[in-house]
Symmetry: C2
Subunit: 405 residues, 2 copies
């Protein structure tokens, strides 16, 4: 059994490093190269190479990929100050709200326009698929460009957390509508209470508890106690977030914020930092996430997708999130960068599309595979367009700043 | 799905650090505490706690544990010089040979004595379960005590590699005997050729190829290229070793030896080393292996084991490997430490016992569950006795050296 995991890891790591290096040589973010390397690896069966076909659906690889994105958001949380995040709180809230409402309306319009004969639920589902931002891509680009601590970075991250809560609400509403809707109100209240309760609890209780726990843990001797304690904090909050209905990465980000209160300089040898200890872990695991994301793109399954619908959804997704930029009220923040950073859609959109696919009215499916494929194409397009666009926009901002000076 | 992995990792990491710290406080090696923490976690269902029962058999946890021991032997290989290993080559070969023959005879005698009515194959199988040393435990103790580079350390590691090849031969003979044995001779030849071919190929070709590959890889830009290249080398040789019929850890150890020829000081920033980059990865993954090893001990299943047989096998296992010490011809090497370091038995012994369990003559099973449990008890006892014994013996050697000076 271990031999198949070894083969998968060899293939993924080689693909990630070659793809990443090639992308960087072309002036693009490494993450774009990793995604494309994954897509290329996923397309190997089309060329008759089947030896690596198992990698996309291997449960261990999937778990490692998930640990990778959890670690990425943990690192991003560690380099975020809660005070900075709260300072841009209003902007983040407005960005998240506009970023849910506008794409939803545009997606609904696209559905009404291009699928005139469909059940009224279908355009609603299409709108819902456009709500939630997939923050992994943006977090990676911000991190690689050292822009996590900027106003734009903080607004995007704050908005992504709020966005995840709102995505839950949209899901609750939609499931309620599809299921008949008698107890929707109470259900929405419960979902909101759990999500908000987790965030508040993690940040208040966690920030009080973490320094105390680390002081106790540091009394244990032995190799790697501090690193292990940090990882356990991260995994514990990711796990609790999932229990609360949120994405595990939201918990991991919260864990990073929580550990801001721990003074690692007392616990670690001179010159070492928790970020530095995490680097080798994330250097291996994070690319696994992005290559795996590329691997899951099944080019063959896209053949039946409506190109017109996919294009309309992609435009709605991109334009819809650009409206976010207008909601930024923080001075000096780059509105274009915020809008571009909110573009990537991911698993949440696919979850909604999947729900729509399973929906039946009077025993008949109301959404077909072609519509689903159009959503997948939209997810792919937004995922691939965001890294270069964001990099360009940040570079533009820097160039302008240099000219001003 | 990710939530169960997160829960498993939290439980394992907390258990490992608590167990390891407690053992160290009592003057014992951390690995003993990790093993006992795993056994305790595995016994939770007896106390009515079932929430963590899935951890022992979760495939992802198992894969992470395997990656942990692969990484451990890779690290040990990195701190081994091939020249030093070849220098103690004769001692290592004699130690491995005596360490296979004497325990096999003692195990066979124990079977003949305590299971007088059993099929003649049964004592043979019992003897075979005592052959192969499980080097993970010893490697960990040597590494934690900074003794990998000593003559004892090198002899044990060299013997463990040869031991693995000999274990393959014993397996080939036994399977041949059980299966009828017409083509045993050719089969043994093939098995030997594959194993020796892998080792020679890896060391000769690998040491020529590795510096060249690393020079090419270092031209790729991007984070973590050197670490990733080192891991890919390790995984590739572990994978190839398994293809050649050897244990993946033998391949990982060979990968460490191969990378000795690469001058990382040119490839890494000042003050960084590949060992240093691997530390955070191994600090997390290596304890997972040892806790998982403890977890697999099913105390409930041991109830039916014959205590007399288990005790006799354990004595045979320990005494048999002490004979190894006498075969050490290298001057200045501590013979007792070598003998104690060869004590732990592990998965190879269990594989043989399992083969015996599945063996039928005229449709009847010739080995019962009680005999199998006795083997499991022997594996447990040798695993638990080795770390404190080895630590004591190394400490004794050091004290004697101080008194001489």
């Amino acid at each position: 059994m271990i031999s198949s995991i070894l083969l998968a890891l060899i293939a993924i790591l080689v693909a990630a490093k070659l793809g990443g290096a090639l992308a960087e040589r072309l002036g693009q973010p490494a993450v774009l190269g990793e995604l494309l390397a994954g897509i290329a690896m996923g397309a190997l069966p089309i060329a008759g190479v089947h030896q690596l076909e198992f990698v996309a659906h291997d449960r261990t690889v999937e778990a490692l990929a998930q640990l990778g994105v959890i670690l990425l958001l943990f690192e991003v949380g560690l380099s975020t100050r809660l005070a900075d995040l709260l300072e841009v709180g209003l902007s983040a809230f407005l960005v998240a709200t506009i970023g849910v409402i506008v794409p939803m309306i545009l997606g609904w319009l696209a559905g009404r326009w291009l699928l005139p004969g469909a059940h009224p639920f279908v355009p609603l589902f299409l709108g819902a698929t456009l709500c939630a931002t997939s923050v992994g891509i943006t977090a990676r680009v911000l991190k690689d460009m050292n822009r996590v601590g900027t106003a734009e970075g903080q607004i995007i991250l704050g908005a992504a957390v709020i966005d995840d809560v709102m995505g839950l609400l949209v899901l609750a509403v939609i499931v309620g509508m599809a299921g008949g809707g008698e107890s929707t109100g109470a259900h929405i209240g419960l979902v909101t209470a759990k999500a908000v309760g987790f965030l508040a609890g993690a940040l208040v209780l966690g920030r009080w508890l973490a320094p105390r726990l680390f002081r106790v843990a540091s009394r244990l001797r032995g190799r790697g106690v501090v690193l292990t304690s940090a990882l356990v904090t991260c995994f514990a909050l990711a796990w609790t977030a999932e229990l609360a209905g949120l994405a595990p990465i939201v918990g991991a980000f919260a864990a990073g914020l929580v550990l801001e209160g721990v003074s690692f300089s007392e616990l670690l040898p001179e010159g070492d930092s928790i970020e530095h200890l995490l680097l080798p872990l994330s250097a291996v695991l994070v690319p696994i996430f992005f290559v795996h994301m590329g691997l899951l793109v099944n080019l063959g399954a896209l053949a039946g997708g409506s190109i017109a619908l996919a294009a309309a959804l992609t435009v709605a997704a991109i334009v819809g999130k650009q409206a976010c930029g207008l909601a930024v009220v923080t001075r000096g923040a780059d509105r274009l960068a915020v809008g571009l950073g909110m573009i990537p859609r991911g698993e949440v959109g696919l979850i909604f599309a999947n729900l729509g696919l399973g929906l039946t009215v009077h025993g008949e499916r109301i959404m077909d595979q072609g519509t689903f494929s159009a959503v997948v194409l939209m997810v792919m397009a937004t995922t691939l367009v965001a890294p270069p666009a964001l990099k360009w926009s940040i570079g533009r901002g820097r160039r302008a700043a240099v000219q001003d000076a």
